[in-house]
């Protein structure tokens, strides 16, 4: 029997964008897309794609659907999970869907899952690197009424149960959950695989399936935000570094220690 997995994946500005190129338009309270740095699929979401592929590698018959809610999708970025080995790409693509708060995002994701489901597993990333909220996947579990295990670093499917390792601050917990379940995946799972040439070729031939809000029976009024963004700004830093320079690097190391002692820091 095929295990249907949906992986939630968000398109985000590349978090590796150098700080000097990170700009905010303080009138519209939005990040100015930086020239020449294309958006990417959120890093933890690629970990989630990797998790789904590992279940396939372990012998399960899985169908992997990647689901994203947003606007202005860049196909080169969004097809990466397909190139890694995912089967389908479903986009909820409508105006303003890249500006939703978590409550609204959860509503749209839940509606898309209701339309495209049922799924045996919902895998999300640990957090999205734009708003760093870390709660869309958790909220979705509540709304769908499914068991939730967050911060998963290892998973193994045994019939109707899934065996998991959940990261905690000083180690991990050994957890079992019934399927269907919602999981958030963290980078401790391991690096997402690189797409190979065959994967890239296959992905280039696949077309995303696209839903509008209307298709999901939603209107922009039904996904009103609970949080109102008042101001988005780059904090000022007035830290001035004192560089310690000795005759050579070894001498600098020694002088650094003496300087820290002078300041009573050590």
């Amino acid at each position: 029997m095929t295990v249907r997995i949906v992986v939630l994946a968000k398109q985000v500005p590349d978090p590796e964008t150098p700080p000097s190129q990170f700009k905010i338009d303080e009138v519209t309270n939005t990040v100015v897309p930086s020239n020449g740095v294309p958006p990417v699929v959120n890093g933890f979401d690629l970990n989630a794609v990797e998790a789904a592929l590992q279940l396939r590698d372990a012998g399960a018959d899985v169908e992997i659907t990647v689901l994203s809610v947003g606007s202005n999708f860049v196909m080169d970025a969004m097809k990466k999970p397909l190139a890694m080995g995912a089967d389908r790409l479903v986009l909820v693509d409508d105006e303003g869907l890249d500006q939703l708060d978590s409550a609204a995002t959860v509503k749209v994701l839940a509606a898309a899952i209701a339309k495209d489901g049922p799924f045996d597993l919902v895998l999300g990333g640990r957090q999205a690197s734009d708003w760093d909220q870390a709660h869309v996947t958790l909220g979705l579990a509540e709304v769908l009424g499914l068991p939730l295990v967050s911060l998963v670093q290892k998973l193994e499917l045994n019939g109707d149960l899934i065996a998991l390792q959940r990261v905690i601050p000083d180690g991990y917990q050994i957890v079992a959950a019934p399927v269907p379940a919602v999981l958030t995946i963290t980078n401790e799972l391991g690096e997402p695989r690189y797409p190979n040439l065959r994967g890239i070729m296959q992905a280039s031939r696949k077309r995303p399936e696209i839903f509008s809000l209307d298709d999901l029976g939603l209107s922009s009024g039904s996904i009103a935000p609970k949080l109102r963004l008042k101001r988005l700004f780059v904090p000022e830093s007035n830290q001035q570094v004192e560089l310690i320079e000795g005759e050579d690097e070894a001498d600098s190391g020694k002088k650094l220690a003496l300087r820290l002692r002078e300041e009573k820091l050590i």
């Binding site: 978090p15 700080p19 990170f22 990040v31 978590s102 409550a103 959860v106 640990r126 690197s129 760093d132 909220q133 709660h135 958790l138 909220g139 509540e142 068991p147 939730l148 295990v149 967050s150 959940r166 905690i168 601050p169 000083d170 180690g171 991990y172 917990q173 050994i174 957890v175 079992a176 959950a177 379940a181 963290t186 980078n187 401790e188 609970k226 949080l227 963004l229 008042k230 101001r231 988005l232 700004f233 904090p235 830093s237 830290q239 570094v241 004192e242 560089l243 310690i244 690097e249 070894a250 600098s252 190391g253 020694k254 650094l256 220690a257 003496l258 820290l260 300041e263 820091l265 050590i266």
Partner: protein, 318 residues
């Protein structure tokens, strides 16, 4: 008057933890706040001497141990529905992150995680939270109540004021359906001080080039009675266990001295150490971001700088 439910947590010794004490400060600063501290367990423990109005115990702890905070979420949902607070505050710990989010979606309330500031009288509440890994700050207004928030650990000073709150107990009468079950815990062996509590932290990054150099960092930490941290890049490379990761998705530390060795100073890393008293950077690239955040720095190769630094520190400490 702002009614606040503050969800407390205890540490391994049964004392109210730092994150909770910090949340008490944040709640008190709201002004005219009526603070109720909620704690899971039979006894209020050290919560009974907090400078707050009331302490409510809920006895969810045993069931919470079996699942992942499921009973405590159910109990809190019932408590929130029956008391209608303006604000519900958690520390941004593992517990707060999971229960805060679940609670918010269960009672259909607004949720803001990892806040470094909160103000307002309840209607509306304003919160500020770092976004884009800490490259920007976002200020939000929450008009509906309750506003459920988690506070970044280290963003507020822990409360030192004491009081004598009334103590009550609350029973939701519900038994949460056990969804996931925890059958065991594997804990990374730790030597010396806890990273989160250390007054001195030395962290290594990708610039260390491998696992071996972390033993030099450990020697330095030993001499100074501190702890070893790491960047995510070093942890992901497998050079050191992830429990040492400092940053947005790792631990928050606020030592007197934070030494970053071979770490570029990405905003997501700084998110975990920027409340340190002094940041010291050792990096061979003078243009790297860490020098914009550090108070002291040496530009150069750590392999040449660190051994004489360690030797001098040893002499000073002898």
């Amino acid at each position: 008057m702002t009614s606040v439910l503050l969800i407390a947590e205890s540490d391994e010794h049964g004392q109210i933890n730092q994150a909770t004490l910090q949340a008490v400060t944040a709640a008190t600063d709201l002004g005219e706040a009526e603070i109720t501290v909620v704690i899971a367990g039979e006894a209020p423990g050290s919560a009974s001497s907090l400078a707050v109005e009331k302490v409510v115990t809920i006895s969810a702890i045993e069931s919470a141990d079996v699942g992942i905070y499921e009973q405590v979420t159910a109990d809190l949902a019932a408590l929130v529905s029956s008391t209608n607070p303006d604000v519900v505050i958690f520390g941004k710990t593992d517990f707060g992150s999971v229960v805060g989010a679940r609670l918010a979606f269960r009672v259909d309330a607004a949720f803001a995680s990892d806040c470094i500031d909160i103000s307002g009288t309840g209607k509306p509440v304003s919160v500020t939270r770092p976004v884009y890994g800490g490259s920007a700050l976002a200020e939000f207004e929450i008009a509906s109540s309750p506003a459920i928030v988690t506070l970044r650990v280290g963003a507020f000073e822990p409360s030192t004021v004491t009081g004598s709150p009334a103590v009550e107990s609350f029973s939701s009468g519900t038994t949460a359906e056990q969804c996931a079950s925890v059958s065991g815990t594997v804990v990374e062996a730790r030597e010396g001080v806890r990273l989160e509590d250390a007054d001195f932290v030395v962290s290594g990054g990708r610039g260390l080039g491998g696992p071996e150099p972390f033993s030099v960092l450990a020697d330095l930490a030993d001499v100074l009675g501190g702890a070893v941290g790491a960047s995510r890049a070093a942890c992901d490379a497998g050079w050191i266990d992830h429990s040492h990761q400092v940053g947005l998705t790792g631990k928050s530390v606020s030592p007197d001295v934070y030494i970053a060795v071979g770490i570029s100073g990405a905003s997501q890393h700084m998110a975990g150490c920027s409340s340190s008293r002094a940041i010291v950077a050792i990096n061979k690239d003078g243009d790297s971001n860490i020098f914009k955040e550090a108070r002291f720095g040496v530009v150069g190769d750590w392999e040449k700088i660190l051994p004489p630094f360690l030797a001098t520190v040893r002499e000073l400490k002898a």
